[in-house]
Amino acid sequence: MNSSALIHAVIDGVLTGSVYALMATGLTLIFGVMDIINVAQGIFVILGAYLSYALSVHWGIDPFVGLVITIPTLFLVGIVVERAFIGRLKGPEKTAMSILVTYAISLVIEGALNMIFSVNYVQISASYVNKTFDIFGVYFAYIYVYGFIMAAILLSALYVMLYRTRFGASIRAALADQTAAALVGIDVKRVSTICFGIGIAVTAAGGMVFGATNAFNASTSYDLISRLLVIIVLGGMGSLGGALLAGILMVTLEDIVGVVWSPVWSIIAFYIVLVIVLSIRPQGLFGKQSARVA
């Protein structure tokens, strides 16, 4: 077993995992505040990737610079989607219905993307996708490091907002207990809408990095959403720290297994870890313990 390959695996796990963590954070935030499982998160990532791609190919805008356009755009898209569809869901089956509604939305977006961009695989290219840094003797393309820095900045910004602003406090209140939050006068509906918007906006950033490091088309979203869902389940649905940890853990574990054993088993290893953790701790690493007994 090659030690430089192992070092590479660990570092890649942190760099790439942080980007997944960013996207998963959006998903877990939406769930925590709204009890909505947004299975369209994957297709929104791809939408963000395509937007960055289009900006780069048609107008020559650098993908990172393009984020200035794509992040607010996806934020607005999130707000509109929430107002039009998600916000209407209520009742005891709200969560189950949200899966179906968001799935329907993802179908529509997928079909639209296929028609606009065709199903051929594309990848965002930029000068820094190929040039590499030398870290501890292994080479990493600039994009991975830049992506990590960006994810770190955005996640930090998110934490600052949550813990230092009043709005952030209302989000945390809604995360803890929606009814109680409403009772103390927090406009839960408004908080929900904005949270959904934030949750989607982060996919623009994650999508850009994903699109630069992977060839993608609209159907890549299925693999993405399954990864994001299991990340938030492992981390604990509704827990932001959990999403971060689980995201990094997932990619690191996969990479290490791929080096030590075989790439074919990488992702299975992760799922097995997931199942083991859930057998012992059904609520995930940092999830809320439910009051009932199984």
Partner: protein, 332 residues
């Protein structure tokens, strides 16, 4: 006790029995068989998820297990290609049921919301195992013994077996609904803690329901495998299958008996028809998504309940205008 309601079921069955005689085109007969298989799966899925409220989105794991069981047994036990293979259909169902037990032991211990996602995760473990293990044939999948029946009659036996499976699924679902076991499931759906407090053995009840629903779904997979002659991991362990059967149940009416039947017949037959006529097109994705959004937003309880409620409202309106007493609506 031939009540009007039962009479209508019999009429529907009679029509269904004669379908292969008026549809003679093999491509369309195949649509009919697949529609029946999906409807049976949706009914069976609803029997657990609809009644207990635990929306399981990983049932394709059972479908795939049934399919692979059929393929592996047929090949390794050298079952002669042809009618004998039909005996493996219930074997597929049994395999799925056995597999559902450990899956349920892990998945049913969590809250409803997490349950949904865990079933998805466990489903992916199955899919990946099928892709990566050697004995399951990897990405290339498995080929079943080639059944040499003539194309003009090929689908007929499959149709009747699928119909029998659907009748079985409906019968089982109805029986559960009327039984004490069914009441316990419904109680869990309404308020699990309260049910627990009232003495319902919640965990064994959930596990039993889960395993029972896996049986028919496994049979569906096995029958499909036999008919297609070839299975591929991404297609018998297909996340779209999960969503489709949930969609069918919700479309028709989540938790009702007729709901998944309606949903399955309408949605699956139209999806298959569009697939045959237009091949795969992005337009169809958009149409489906839009259609579904509309149903979910305007008829969130599903079509069956929507119609039932609309009918009840109409009756009430009629009653209040004519001041005749009206009999109370009941459950379907």
């Amino acid at each position: 006790m031939l009540r009007k309601r039962n009479l209508l079921w019999l009429v529907a069955l009679a029509i269904a029995l004669f379908v292969p005689t008026f549809i003679t085109n093999p491509a369309y007969r195949q649509i009919a068989v697949i529609t029946l298989i999906f409807t049976a799966c949706a009914t069976s899925w609803n029997m657990f998820s609809g009644y207990s409220g635990y929306v399981a989105l990983g049932s394709a794991a059972f479908y795939g297990t049934g399919a692979y069981t059929m393929a592996l047994v047929a090949v390794h036990m050298h079952i002669p290609a042809g009618g004998d293979m039909f005996w493996l259909v219930p074997v597929g169902g049994l395999a799925a049921m056995l597999v559902a037990v450990p899956v349920g032991l892990i998945a049913l211990r969590v809250r409803r919301h997490t349950f949904v996602v865990i079933t998805i995760a466990i489903f992916f473990v199955f899919q990946l195992a099928a892709i990566n293990f050697n004995f399951t044939g990897g990405t290339g999948g498995l080929t079943l013994p080639y059944i040499p029946w003539l194309i003009q009659n090929y689908h007929i036996p499959f149709y009747y077996v699928a119909l029998a499976m659907l009748v079985f699924a409906i019968g089982l679902s109805a029986a559960v609904r009327r039984s004490r076991f069914g009441l316990q499931l419904l109680a869990i759906r309404d308020d699990e803690d309260r049910a627990l407090g009232l003495g319902v053995k919640v965990f064994p009840v959930k596990l039993t329901g889960f395993a029972m629903s896996a049986f028919t779904i496994g049979m569906g997979g096995a029958l499909y495998a036999m008919m297609q002659g070839q299975i591929y991991p991404q297609f018998v362990f297909d996340p779209i299958f999960d969503i489709s059967i949930a969609l069918m149940a919700f479309f028709g009416g989540f938790g009702t008996l007729l709901g998944p039947i309606l949903g399955g017949l309408v949605l699956e037959s139209s999806q298959q028809y569009l697939t045959v006529t237009y091949s795969n097109g992005s337009l169809y994705l958009i149409l489906f998504g839009v259609l579904f959004l509309l149903v979910v937003l305007f008829m969130p309880q599903g079509i069956v309940v929507y119609i039932r409620d609309a009918w009840t409202k109409r009756q009430d309106r009629l009653a209040s205008s004519s001041e005749n007493p009206v009999t109370q609506g009941g459950h379907s």
